[in-house]
Every structure is written in C-alpha cells, then in structure tokens.
Amino acid sequence: MEDCLAKKVEITVSEAEKRTGRNAMNMQETYTAYLIETRAVESQSEGQCAPVDSLWRRYSEFELLRNYLSVTYPHIVVPPLPEKRADFVWHKLSADNMDPDFVERRRIGLENFLLRVASHPVLCQDKICYSFLTQEGGWKEMVNETGFQLKADSRLKALNATFRVKNPDKRFTELKHYSDELQSVISHLLRVRARVADRLYGVYKVHGNYGRVFSEWSAIEKEMGDGLQSAGHHMDVYAASIDDILEEEEHYADQLKEYLFYAEALRAVCRKHELMQYDLEMAAQDLTSKKQQCEELATGTVRTFSLKGMTSKLFGQETPEQREAKLKVLEEQIQEGEEQLKSKNLEGRDFVKSAWADIERFKEQKNHDLKEALISYAVMQISMCKKGIQVWTNAKECFSKM
C-alpha cells in the first residue's frame, strides 16, 4: 500500500460551531460548521510541533465531496457519512439536529469519514479530496468544474429499479444479496437496541425512588435509621449511573450505523457492475440485430419482422441504389458497434477487477472493525456489571448495619 494521506497528515475535526447565514433562497438559516485541522506528521518526528492548518466546513460540503467520490470512483466502496438526521433514537436521546450530543457524535463521525478517506489507497490521492482539507474558498466551484454531475448515472440513484441482466458476475450478485441482508439485519439490531436502552433506563431510574422512601422511613427508626439512609444514597447512585452507561453505548450504535451505511455503498458498486453489464448486453444485442439486418438486405430474405420491411412490401420495393446506401450505413454502424463493444468489454473487465480488489480490502476492514466493536461492547457490559455489583455490595453493607 502506497503512502496514503493518513500517514503523512494528521487530520482532526476538532470543533463544531453554530452559525447563521443566508441560504440559496436568501432565507436565514442556522447550521453547524465543523473545524478541520491538519498537521504534517513528518516534522513532528524531528521534535518540532508542526503548524496546524485549519478550515471550516459544513455537512453539505462533506456530502458534496462524497457524491463527487462516489461518481468519480464507482468501483470503490466509498466510506459513508454519519447520518444526516438522528435515527434509531431511544426516548431520552434527542432527534434534534441542533442538540449538542448529536452534534458531538456527528463531529466524531465526520472525523472518522475523513480518516477513512485519507487512509484509502486510491481515494487519498484525489486532488479534490486534498483541497477539501486545505482550500477553504472556491472549493465548491472546483468540484462543480470537474463536471462530475454529468457522469452521474441517474439510474444508479434508483437503486431498487430492476432491469434484467442476463450474465452478471455471480460474485456481484451474491454480494448485492449480502449487502441487502446486512442492511436489513443491522437496521433491525439498531431498532431493538434502542428499545433495550429505553427499558434499561426505566429499570435503573425507578430504583431512585428507593432512595427517597428509605430516607423517609429512616426518620421514624432508631437503630435501623442509619443503615436505611445510607443504603438509600447508594440506590440514588445506582439510578444515576445509567446515564453514562447508555451514552457510552451510543458509540457502539454509531459503529454499527457506519456499517449499515457502508452496506449501501457496497450495494452501489454491485449496481454499477449490473448497469455496465446491462449496457454491454444491450450493445451486443443491438450489434447482433444490425448484423442480421445487414444480412437480410444483402440476401433479400426477410427473417425478422420490421415495420419498414412491411411498408416497403405494401408500398413497393426500394431501388437498388437505396438498398446500397442503407447497407453502407449499416456496415459503418456495425464497425462502430464492434469497436464500442470491445471497449465496453474491456471497461467491464477492468471494473470487475478493480472493484473486486477494493471489495476484498473492504471485507478485511469490516471484519476487523466489527470484531473490535463487539469487543468494546462486551467490555462496556462487563463494566456495567461490575458497577452494579459494587453498588449493591455497598447497599448490602449498609443493610447489614441495620
């Protein structure tokens, strides 16, 4: 793997700031801007602190960057952005985009996105990408000048549109099926996890009521009073502990969400292959029919039905000159078609080769990351259990002194 950007430059999204401005329709809007800081890594090894470059970007600019990358590198599984709107929330979490916790998690997600792009062997070399990090003014114009929107295949947008591909690469068909299943299972997991979090919150918080009633009860007791009172305090601690626990768990949910969105990116690559294959097959079909028409004209036999053929039968045959002209046009078209088919074939094979390479890279990354995510989730659960044991052991000691 060549030296990717991530090895040369330290990238952080360090701050988020609320801004107000005027949008395209000259209406006032509030949005959040994120500070991207970059610092060269090399000079740090010399013991010096390298200067930090920084610029501000908002979410829509990140979106523009990603769209550009998706269109320009259709064979790459492009890293996804953190969600646009808060989804899979459990009741205490705010679904408001301006909520500071949401903004904070988004800041982390955007940093993660940049790190992913910067450590990708292909994407990190892109100039638009580099200027996103270094050139605040005029970047948008630069992106639009590439004319990438023209390259964008509108058919790709309709990711669910079906068209019949006769001979797709089986690996891509399986992979598309996998990405569909992955999206479905992670969505389900995130939904249930949110409900689990909700319920767990309820269990912990109700225990807080013990604190109050033990305190009230201790007031009428002599020997039992102290033990009850201090146990009640531990119940309050227990009830309060759930807030931090669930906040930590949100990071796990975010890790899952990243791969939920990654599944979409994976699907897009498979779709691109299908589209290319479809175009190839259509082109081949078109060529075949043209060749057939050619043959029919030359030999005078009509094998295929054509309206032109019928009308010429009804209204009289063509002159030999007309037929000659037609043949010539067809032969030119056939030659063009064969060349096009050749290049399309080549394109298709190249695509399959480079896409599959990136897919293999992605698979390894996915397995590594998700394993790490599961480990950190287990560690969180272990910490929660240990806290629970601690609190109840403390309470038990208070009760024993009653």
Binding site: R195, V196, K371, I375, K396, S400
Partner: protein, 385 residues
C-alpha cells in the same frame, strides 16, 4: 438441605458474611428469652387433595419439644389453611392483649393467580412456617392451649366443634367484652406507637409499589432482550469470519435473559410477600391498640361513675378494680410485645433487604461471567484460509 437456626429462621449460606450474621442473630435471641429453646415447629411438604366437593392443599406441621405441656416429644400432623385461620382467630380471642402474627392473605382472585402452582404454594408455605415460628418464639402465645391442640391433635375438626365453651387452664377466659366506650386521649407512649405504625405501613406500601414497578420494568426489559439476542444470530448466519463472535454475543445475551428472569422471580416470590406480611401485621397491631383504648376507656368511665357517687362506697368496687387490672395487664403485655416486635422487625428487614441486595449481586455476577467468557472468543484470530 436448608440450614436453619434453632429458632427456625433459615440461614443464608450464599455469602461469606453469613457466619457473622449467624452469630448476631444467636446473640439477639439469647437476649430475648432467658430459657433455652425447647420448642421447634416446621411447616413443609405441601400436598394436593382432590375430593368430590373441593380441591385443597395440606401442609405437614412437625413439632419437636421437651416441654411438659406436651405428652410426646414429637408430633407430625397435617393442616390446611383453614386450620391456620382458625388458630389465629382463637389466639386473637384468647390472647387479646398480645400481638398475633399475620397470616398470608386468605382470598386469592381466581383466574389471576393459580392457587395450586408451585410458586404460590411455596410462598404460602413459607408464610405459614413464619407464622408458627413467631408464635413459637412468643413466651406467652407459645403456651396457648389452642396452639398446643393445633400442633398435636389428630382430628382438629372434632376439637373445633367443641366451641368456645372450653375453659382454659391458663386463667384467661372470657373475651374482653367492652361496650362502646370512647377514650379521651391515648397515653403518649401508645400514641407514639400508633403514629409509628401509621407511617411504617405507609412507607412499606410505597416500597411495595416501587418493587412491583421495578419487576414490571425488568420484565419489559426482558421482552426486548429476548428479541435482541437472536438478531446477532441471524447476522452471524450471514457472515463467515464474524459468525462465531456474533453467535457468542447472541448466546451471552441469552444467558443474561435467564439471569434476569431468575432475579424477577426471586423478588416476586421472596421479597414482596414479606413486605405484605408486615403491612398486615401493622394493621392487626393497630387493632390491638384500639382494643387497648377500649379497655382503658371502660376503666376510666367506671372510675368516673364511682367518683360521682361519692361517699356511698369508701372502697373502690371490685369490678372497677378488675378494670384497672385489665388496663395494667394490657399495657404491660403490649409494651413487651412491641419491644419484641421491633427487634424481630429489625432482624427480618435486615435479612430481607440484604437478601434483595444479594439477589441483585448474583444477577450481575452471572451476567459478568457470561460477558467475560466471550472476550477470548471475540479476540480469537481465525486461521488464515
């Protein structure tokens, strides 16, 4: 085999602190009764009886004793709830100046609770056992003649039919028949007890509601967890390298579900019934306080009546004297019982709350074990294929 202290309360051997609590309890008991234990009663072995008219449960009541009041050193009889209820009524009648322990609730809403389920029968058995042990512990009630018959008679029904005409050997005979006398003011110490009982039962009621709410929330949490775990399995089936880790997480969550279920069951079966028992206890104690008020009111009324008649009788008439005796006896018995009750209450709640803490600790320990055991599975590097 459950270990029990000589007074019958079971020992919690699950925690290392139990030996010190054992010692504590023995010392307290020695303070309570100067005499050594010479009466042991246990309730166990519930059995279902199906007859043409009804179906009911009987429990085995075993007695071991060296007391002279008993002809034999050992007895084993079978009793049903009705019989316990009869005993309690008899005790209230014949020992109105004492606090009689409560019975578990008589009526159960049919259809909502299964009267013959293992859990219900076991909960009831424990409460009945506690009931008899509390009587056994009492220096006056344990010598009650009806109690003796309850523990020993082969045919209790025949004895029941003999009715109230039986004169006891102890000397207390007729019920305290009191007219509708109104007490002007309760003496300070009994007023304090009354107030205490009011607040106490109020707080217990609140705790009961909180505990029920927690159980409800835990069960709802359990429902979600039961859906959560299997999703990891479904995902695992999609993957190759991640298949084992995901299956591991799924199984882990399953284990936590089991642990949670056990916690909720324990709280329902062991914690809530004892709370309710004490609420019933408070209620019956308040009634005894009222009876005491009645007795005092009667005495005060009769005394006033005599004072109004002035010189006719220089001596205080005997029936007024008897009233005075009654009041003083009642007050003395009640005070002694209150002290005993307070001490027992402290021990009972200490044990109850420590038990609750223990059950929660065990729940978290089970979950901890489950999650710690899958860490190596998650960190495992698969062999390169």
């Amino acid at each position: 085999q459950d270990l029990s202290l000589p007074n019958g309360t079971p020992v919690d051997t699950s925690s290392p602190a139990s030996s010190s609590s054992l010692l504590n309890r023995l010392q307290l008991d020695d303070d309570l009764d100067a005499e050594t234990r010479d009466l042991f009663v246990t309730v166990d072995d519930p059995k279902k009886h199906v007859c043409t008219m009804e179906t009911y449960i009987t429990y085995r009541v075993t007695t071991k004793t060296t007391r002279a009041e008993f002809d034999l050193p050992e007895y084993s009889v079978r009793r049903r709830y009705q019989d316990f209820d009869w005993l309690r009524n008899k005790l209230e009648e014949s020992q109105p100046t004492h606090l009689i322990p409560p019975l578990p609730e008589k009526f159960v809403v049919k259809g909502v609770v299964d009267r013959f389920s293992e859990e219900f029968v076991e909960t009831r058995r424990k409460a009945l056992d506690k009931f008899l042990k509390r009587i056994t512990d009492h220096p006056v009630l344990s010598f009650n003649e009806h109690f003796n018959v309850f523990l020993t008679a082969k045919d209790l029904n025949a004895y029941k039919k003999q009715g109230m005409a039986l004169l006891s050997k102890m000397g207390e005979s007729v019920k305290y028949v009191t007219g509708g006398y109104k007490l002007r003011s309760r003496p300070l110490e009994f007023a304090a007890i009354g107030e205490y009982l009011d607040t106490f039962s109020l707080k217990l009621g609140t705790i009961d509601r909180i505990a029920q709410r927690i159980i409800k929330e835990q069960l709802e949490y359990l429902v979600e967890l039961r859906e959560y775990g299997p999703v990891y399995s479904t995902w695992g089936a999609l993957e190759v390298e991640l298949s084992e880790p995901l299956e591991g997480v799924s199984a882990c969550i399953g284990n936590c579900c089991t642990a949670l279920e056990e916690l909720s069951e324990d709280m329902t079966e062991d914690f809530l019934p004892v709370l309710r028992e004490y609420i019933l206890y408070s209620e019956s104690m308040k009634n005894v306080l009222k009876k005491r008020d009645q007795v005092q009111a009667e005495y005060e009324a009769k005394l006033e009546a005599v004072a109004l008649k002035k010189e006719e009788r220089p001596k205080v008439p005997t029936d007024v004297e008897k009233c005075q005796d009654r009041v003083e006896c009642f007050n003395a018995d009640l005070k002694a019982d209150m002290e005993r009750w307070q001490n027992n209450k402290r021990q009972d709640f200490r044990q109850l709350l420590m038990g609750m803490a223990d059950k929660n600790i065990q729940y978290y320990e089970k979950c901890l074990t489950a999650w710690e055991s899958i860490i190596p599975l998650l960190q495992d590097k698969p062999e390169t294929k």
